[in-house]
């Protein structure tokens, strides 16, 4: 049985930008379908609203932050309250980012499903790499 550490994934899930919904969807895809036994998450706002237990998250788990825009709330918030993320992913670095539509903050459009998959696969690659290094 594997003793490798689980990897934390923290999505910004920002409600007011299309990238927040994409980051959330891709993160859930990894947590539920692609690497359910190797990953854990925490609601980002718990760093501000919660206590020391929640703030120990990124100290306990090597953590990947997934941000939907250049504000980098997940990366900055995680570093501010817990520990510097092992990997910081910013959706703005993807070519498809500029084609996101405003309404995607509520409903992901058919045209963005590939971006969700691409982002999810990149998260998975980072998860596998982090666990490989921990071997």
């Amino acid at each position: 049985m594997s003793e490798l550490p689980k990897v934390g994934i923290i999505s910004c899930s920002g409600e007011d930008c299309p990238g927040g919904n994409i980051s959330r969807e891709a993160t859930l895809r990894v947590l539920h379908d692609l690497r359910p036994d190797e990953t854990v998450t925490i609601c980002l706002p718990l760093f501000l609203a919660g206590g020391e237990g929640e703030r120990g998250f990124a100290k306990r788990f090597p953590t990947i932050t997934v941000d939907g825009c250049g504000k980098l709330c997940a990366a900055i918030g995680t570093a501010r309250f817990s520990s510097k993320p092992t990997v910081e992913i910013n959706l703005e670095d993807y070519d498809d980012f500029s084609s996101l539509k405003t309404e995607e903050k509520w409903h992901i459009q058919e045209s963005s499903k590939d971006l969700v998959e691409k982002l999810a696969n990149d998260i998975v690659n980072h998860v596998d790499e982090i666990r490989k290094i921990s071997e």
Binding site: S13, G14, C43, P45, L48, A49, I76, R80
Partner: protein, 129 residues
């Protein structure tokens, strides 16, 4: 009616269906018939300490929708020194509308959408000034 903006902030919860219901309710309120009156804002901006977001909340009427007793939306707003005008807890709304039990975090289903509508109605009925 006050000139202050009405800002609805859901909890950003990613672990439970109630977090998705809070999000759905926010969009029902801010992206449909009531979008001229209600806006939303990314809660994570407060975690990152975004000053522009904090300043805007300080001059707004803030409505929070929380999916669990951790109350991330309400407590995050209060921690920056802003009073919440109305606080809605999704499980409490479900207790009053038990037929609208949502599905999963990935797909809240028709009942989840209806539960979100219950939340919208509650805010419109009880939160208007």
């Amino acid at each position: 009616m006050s000139d202050a903006k009405k800002i609805v902030i859901p909890c950003s919860g990613i672990g439970k269906a109630f977090g998705t219901v809070a999000r759905e309710a926010t969009y029902q309120l801010t992206e449909t018939d009531h979008q001229s009156e209600y806006k939303t804002m990314c809660l994570p901006l407060l975690v990152a300490g975004d000053q522009e977001a904090i300043d805007l909340l300080k001059k707004s009427n803030v409505y929070t929708i929380d999916g669990c007793p951790k109350k991330c939306a309400t407590l995050s707003v209060e921690r920056i020194g802003v009073n919440v005008a109305m606080e809605v807890m999704v499980p409490k709304v479900l207790a009053q509308n038990t037929e609208h039990k949502p599905g999963s975090v990935l797909d809240i289903g028709r009942n989840g959408v209806l539960l979100a509508k219950d939340i919208v109605n509650k805010i419109l009925e009880e939160g208007s000034d």
